[in-house]
Amino acid sequence: MEGSNHPPMLEVKDVHISFGVLKALNGVSLHIKKGEILAIIGPNGAGKTTMTNVISGVCHPKPGRILFEGKDITTMPPHHVAALGIARTFQNVEIFKGMRVLDNIMMGRHLQMRSGFLSQGIYWGLGQKEEIRHRKFVEWVIDWLEIEHIRKTPAGMLAYGLQKRVELGRALAAEPKLLLLDEPMGGMNVDEKEDIARFILDANEELGTTIFLIEHDMGVVMDISDRVIVLEYGEKIAEGTPAEIKNNEKVIKAYLGTATRR
């Protein structure tokens, strides 16, 4: 990303999170530059999901600071963080299971919809114009994610891979500046993974969405990310381009294990 003297979009400064005696994050600092794809890797329990929760306001670091576009969001509740343009998906798929796929993705635009519930319900004037405008964008997202055939299906009835796709659609429907993806390809087969990787790259290139990606599949991470950060036991042990990470001794030892070294 050129213009690197601009301040980063997101800055995480010396963040600590403890659950009882367990230090989930122990003084981690990182930054995300506008327009990049940053991947976070690390063994299970390294603190990757906790980092997502810290950025999205689900848990608040103590001590530590988080700045988004220069604004301090350290103690902001999640629904305010969402309003600033940070959308996310969850490791264990959190979708609205009782609602149709269409309504699920429509929920992603909740914050963009402003007209009062009366005009909206009566489907008049502003309400109608708004609904149509949002529906257009939502339909576009549905098209793009290739889930037209299931748009009226209750989301809870879908297979796991499709549920993950719906969740991704909901996050993208918010047109976020920063998208946090917590293992978007977990539990998927190779074809599904390729699809998701393509959607992530498209979102990044076509919509200019900045992406924070947690993923276990090394192949995917090395292929699509601009930068990689490695966490282990709540601490950052490496940071760099995919090529640098691949050859980092510490990473190979901690993450891949010595046996897999080629």
């Binding site: 305010h80 309003a83 969850f90 959190e94 609205f96 909740h110 519930f117 909206q120 319900g121 909901r170």
Partner: protein
């Protein structure tokens, strides 16, 4: 005794009309259950509280103004409940919230007793106890009014939940708290709105049952009738509350006239619970409730 079909039809219609009023009470439970996953034990006390408030306000205000007044009180109550009761219990087990609603129920009953005493009061909203004769079928004006009001309110609530941005947000909250927060829905205001709507339903139920039975403490027991409705229809389904209410209303009236004579009557009071037990055996999540499959 020859079988009188016209009479059976009349009983069925009356049962269905009363059933709509059961649906309305059940809906109060369903809304809270969907939004926060708890069975609101205080719904009966809220009904009583609203009815008492309406009686005392209408003593010196016109009916219209008293209704607005009670509505304001119920919305204020919802706000206080969210602030004082729900907020400190966020992320606690559902059982803690359930216990809190039992406490709220007792508290409201106590407050109602302290303010209004224990004497039953009459509530007159200008509907007389007359009946219409429709080709040999007698339909009570009160039943018709009650069913009409319930129907309108049910329609409005369903419309609100299905068609509006706020309603959609409330549905989302009921499905998944974390996801709702992540798309920018504030849980606290969602809960406050839900409780305000439950207060509105309590007010409507208070009016309907208060005019029929008088405003007295047994009104809290009306809420118990919602239990078989919910078991039959499903705890988390709005259409379930409506259909369940109609089933309970019509089946209890029919049981009374068809089976009652063989066992000496009084079936009406327990037949809905028997039906509920059958449903618990055959379909524990109700007709429209979401089937929860737990992996063990």
């Amino acid at each position: 005794m020859s079988f009188n079909w016209l009479f059976v039809l009349e009983v069925t219609i009356t049962g269905l009309l009363v059933g709509l009023m059961y649906s309305l009470i059940a809906l109060g439970f369903v809304l809270i259950y969907k939004a926060s996953g708890i069975f609101n034990f205080a719904q009966g006390a809220m009904t009583l509280f609203a009815a008492f408030a309406l009686v005392s306000l209408s003593a010196f205000l016109s009916l219209g103004f008293s209704l607005v007044g009670v509505l304001v009180i119920m919305v204020a109550l919802a706000y206080v409940v969210e602030r004082v009761m729900l907020r400190p219990l966020v992320a606690r087990p559902a059982l803690a919230l359930f216990m809190a609603t039992i406490g709220l129920g007792f508290f409201l009953e106590g407050v109602a007793q302290a303010i209004w005493g224990t004497q039953p009061r009459g509530l007159d909203i200008g509907i007389t106890e007359t009946s219409y004769d429709l080709g040999g079928i007698l339909i009570s004006k009160m039943d018709l009014f009650g069913a009409g009001l319930s129907g309108v309110l049910l329609f409005c609530l369903v419309w609100f939940f299905q068609k509006t941005r706020t309603g959609r947000a409330l549905r989302a909250v009921s499905d998944d708290h974390e996801a709702a927060l992540s798309v920018g829905i504030p849980l606290r205001s969602a809960w406050a709105i839900t409780w305000a709507i439950a207060g509105l339903v309590a007010l409507a139920a208070g009016i309907l049952w208060g005019t029929r039975l008088g405003v007295q403490f047994s009104l809290t027991l009306i809420a118990l009738k919602a239990l078989p409705v919910l078991i039959i229809g499903g705890f988390d389904s709005v259409p379930g509350a409506i259909i369940g209410g109609l089933i309970v209303g019509s089946s209890e009236s029919l049981a009374e006239v068809l089976l009652g004579p063989y066992v000496g009557g009084g079936i009406k009071d327990f037949s809905p619970y028997l039906l509920a037990v059958v449903f618990l055996w055959a379909r524990p999540y109700g007709l429209f409730g979401r089937e929860i499959i737990e992996r063990v």
